[in-house]
């Protein structure tokens, strides 16, 4: 597995023609189960194939354990400099419900150890909207967490995934279905509480203070380039190293065995690569960019659409105007972004904005050589 990860990272970096890597994220599944040596080997390979500056953000997703100390230190030595802890809850019953094997005390211990090793660069996540969960107790959990946490918190609403134990229980009626009203209330109260505590909500689910934003995730929302390495990983980049000019959405083979076979044979296990059209890219720029607090600046938009300004697209639409009047959306000299209220209902806003973008795109003065 280790050598395959190394090989694939090298191959894809070569394909992308990228010369510098700003961030690396070891995530998905339970990467903290991988050995620090693997992490070190991959980072080594990245630095060889492209340049990995010393101040690059290198994050590891880790689940709380009962004796985290030495292992976390070993990851630190291997090159990890930021930790994202899947804490999820400070209530043992809820952790059980979520199928987690750690306890609340494991979580706090891991958090304390992580902060000691990576001060200012530790993130925790907290789940909201569990079945039967009440707003008051959840807010007290968040309050408690604020006493222990570092400068980064993510709030995630639970989505019931088919095939999980939780889903089955709700399906059978042994657990009540999560109440979206209650979840909405938790979200609103939670983000207000974090704001008071000096956190900036820089994205729908992400909060940071003292500038501790995740560089890596920011890249996703800004539609930067990223390579996905490993089974089932997603990437989006222009394969310039192979002479390509179009950004591609790429997915690596999901099943580990097959993936390894492919990597051994071809140097990479890319299962699917789909070129993204210009409009498709713009749609992603819109949908992703609006998730952030700064939204889409005119400057940022211009990088993707030189012929079509935000004003061109959204300036004259009555429907968009209604959203502006309602105070859900802002369009001004800085660019297009959600208001505090609007951010919570972004998916609804996009149902107006995306069709508008399509329409404007089709009506634009066609410039030579541009395809739809």
């Amino acid at each position: 597995m280790r050598s395959c990860l190394v090989t694939e990272a090298q191959t894809l970096l070569g394909l992308s023609g990228v010369r510098r890597v700003d961030s690396v994220f070891f995530g998905g599944g339970t990467p903290s189960l991988a050995s620090p040596n693997t992490v070190a080997a991959v980072l080594e390979a990245v630095d060889q194939a492209a340049h990995l500056p010393a101040d690059s953000e290198v994050t590891l997703e880790a689940n709380p354990t009962s004796a985290p100390g030495s292992r976390l230190a070993a990851f630190g030595a291997a090159g990890i400099n930021r930790l994202s802890i899947g804490l999820q809850s400070l209530d043992d019953k809820e952790l059980q419900l979520l199928g987690r094997t750690h306890s609340a005390s494991d979580a706090l211990q891991t958090l304390a150890e992580a902060r000691r090793l990576f001060p200012g660069r530790v993130s925790v996540d907290l789940m909201l909207g569990l079945p039967a969960q009440k707003s008051g107790p959840w807010l007290r959990q968040l309050q408690e967490l604020l006493g222990y946490c570092d400068d980064h918190i993510s709030l995630y609403q639970l989505t019931l995934e088919r095939g999980t134990a939780l889903f089955t229980q709700v399906q059978r009626g042994t657990l009540p279905a999560p109440d979206p009203e209650v979840a909405a209330e938790m979200y609103q109260e939670g983000r207000a509480l974090l704001r008071e505590a000096g956190f900036r909500q820089y994205e729908v689910s992400n909060f940071a203070r003292n500038g501790a934003l995740s560089t890596h995730n920011w890249t996703y929302w800004q539609c930067g380039q990223y390579l996905g390495v490993g089974p089932g990983a997603h990437g989006r980049f222009v394969p310039q190293g192979a002479g390509g000019h179009t950004r591609e959405a790429r997915i690596q083979t999901l099943e580990p065995d097959n993936w390894m076979k492919e990597v051994t044979l071809f140097g990479h296990g890319t299962r699917k690569h789909v070129p993204l059209g210009e409009l498709e890219l713009l749609e992603e720029v819109l949908a992703m960019g609006l998730r952030t607090d700064v939204g889409i600046t005119h400057q940022h938009w211009q990088r993707f659409a030189s012929q079509l300004s935000l004003w061109d697209v959204f300036g004259s639409s009555q429907e968009v105007k209604a959203l502006l009047v309602q105070g859900l959306l802002l369009l001004d000299h800085r660019g297009l972004r959600c208001s505090w209220e609007g951010l919570a209902v972004l998916d609804s806003l996009l149902l107006t904005l995306l069709p508008r973008l399509q329409e404007a795109w089709l009506q634009r003065a066609p410039s030579p050589g541009q395809g739809g």
Binding site: P180, Y187, A233, H234, I251, D347, L349, L354, P355
Partner: protein, 668 residues
Amino acid sequence: MSRFSVENIRNFSIIAHVDHGKSTLADRLLELTGTIDKTKNNKQVLDKLQVERERGITVKAQTASLFYNWEGKQYLLNLIDTPGHVDFSYEVSRSLSACQGVLLVVDANEGIQAQTVANFFLAFEAQLSVIPVINKIDLKNADPESVEKQIEKVFDIPGDECIKISAKLGTNVERVLQAVIERIPPPKVHRINPLRALVFDSTFDQYRGVIANVALFDGVVSKGDKIVSAHTKKIHEVNEVGVLNPNEQPAHKLYAGQVGYLIAGMKDVTEAQIGDTLYLHKQPVEPLPGFKSAKPMVFAGMYPIDQSEYNNLKSAIEKLTINDSSVTVHRDSSLALGAGWRLGFLGLLHMEVFNQRLEQEYNASVILTTPTVPYKAVLSSAKLIKDYREKEITIINPAQFPEKSKVTEYLEPVVLGTIITPDEYTGKVMMLCQARRAVQKNMIFIDQNRVMLKYIFPLNEIVVDFYDSLKSLSSGYASFDYEDAGYQTAELVKMDILLNGNIVEELVTIVHKESASRGGTERGRQRIRSRLQALSCQPRAQCGAETCELQDHDLSQSWKLNRLRHPGAPRDKAHSVGKAICERLKDSLPRQLFEIAIQAAIGSKIIARETVKAYRKNVLAKCYGGDITRKMKLLKRQAEGKKKLRKVGNIEVPRDAFIKVLKTQSDK
């Protein structure tokens, strides 16, 4: 055919409540007379439609000529099978007018049912001889003696006139044929007079055109004759005449007193309407009495589930209506449901059967909107009278409802309903009828424990779920039937449904201002209770000796008093209808970025309200590198769906929401 002198001809029908064995008896009669072979497959030979066999009802009248030898003479017995439901009572009455007698079939187990009564009176009014036949005497729980008494009691027919049979086993069926000969008179007709023929049914054949079933009252008709329709005055040349056995069998001539079919180049069933009289060209006769054009009593919108199926549905409807001129078809369109039709039916069953035939025979699935009844308005506004060119207009579409200030009065169709129920359910049945604004006309015990109630009902109160409610509160034992009883004045108002103040045109509804609480007022319940007590005080035997008729005036009197005392009676009709629509809309309107007020309003008065709260949160929590493709796909699909939504003001209403509100609710 000329060998049958009129004295040896009998024309008769079989009438019965659903499932009492009419079609089985017909099968046996056909077998006995050698009209059809005796095989196991003779199941409801006369019921040709799939719907008919499935539901045990006869929709189209069928006819068969039977030849029977008795006491050395050969008789021609024309069995004119009638439609088995009062929705088709006009057709039944036309079929009956071709007869001189009927077999009234009653189930030995179930006894007289509402439809038995309705059918009996149709025959009685036509002055036909009635032969009561008690069927299914082979059943374990059969009680023919008790049914005999019921027949004596309700129809005033001596018990010894009843023939007890088992049509299934063939027991005593021969006796039925003999009774037909003995008790039913031959038709009073004159062969020497000019032709006078009654059209009592007509069907359309793709290759041969209209096939009219006729009964000859006078004269003779043969191929080559030129005939005229008294109704359309159109002239047609006869191509073929014949008898039905039950399939068409050509003959040279048809004589007065006989029943058969006639094909004369008519291209549309409206050219041979049921009840019409045919006569020879240049020999006009007095038309037979009683002709009416079919009059639809129940209207409903019909739309294809998908607009792309519009043309298929159109052709299916055309094909079906070519055989059923009683269905009226008007093109209609709805902003929400697209292009469709407003169809008029004779009654609810007629509507159901039509819909079922569309599905079964044409594989068409449709959205059928909640049925409405034809209201009338007597106009007072000179301008409107000029516009409509008449003073009294019929309102089929609620959107055309003229406002109160331009109207002298509104009228609603009413029916005379007959309910027969075991007396343990009488209280509940009366409560139900009261809640449906019905006025009791009379009530009698037809035997030891069964009650027959007669009520005048506003038709709109029974078109949707009355029958189901009646069946469920009586564990299926009560039966119901109704006949047209004209129009009565009604306090009607137009109810608008508003979404954030904008009227939703397709949901405009006509409702009654009259208050009539669904559950009945406490006072009403007490009244019913005391009346029931009064009834049960009388010994049953005594009650059986004479009918305990209850005059309705005291009921309606106290009813009015009750109304006066409680002017704003709780939860009136408009409220409950308005509330139901608002609730259904609330359940089917997706949340939007702002709050939606759903209101039902009469004029400027809001009578019901529901609120759909605004979205407080609608955003995917986790969206990182691996989630983008899936998220974009989902968003685009939703955006695409949104384009198809109908906008009321700035509110997006999915088609489904309209369907849920407008569609006939059968799952109550």
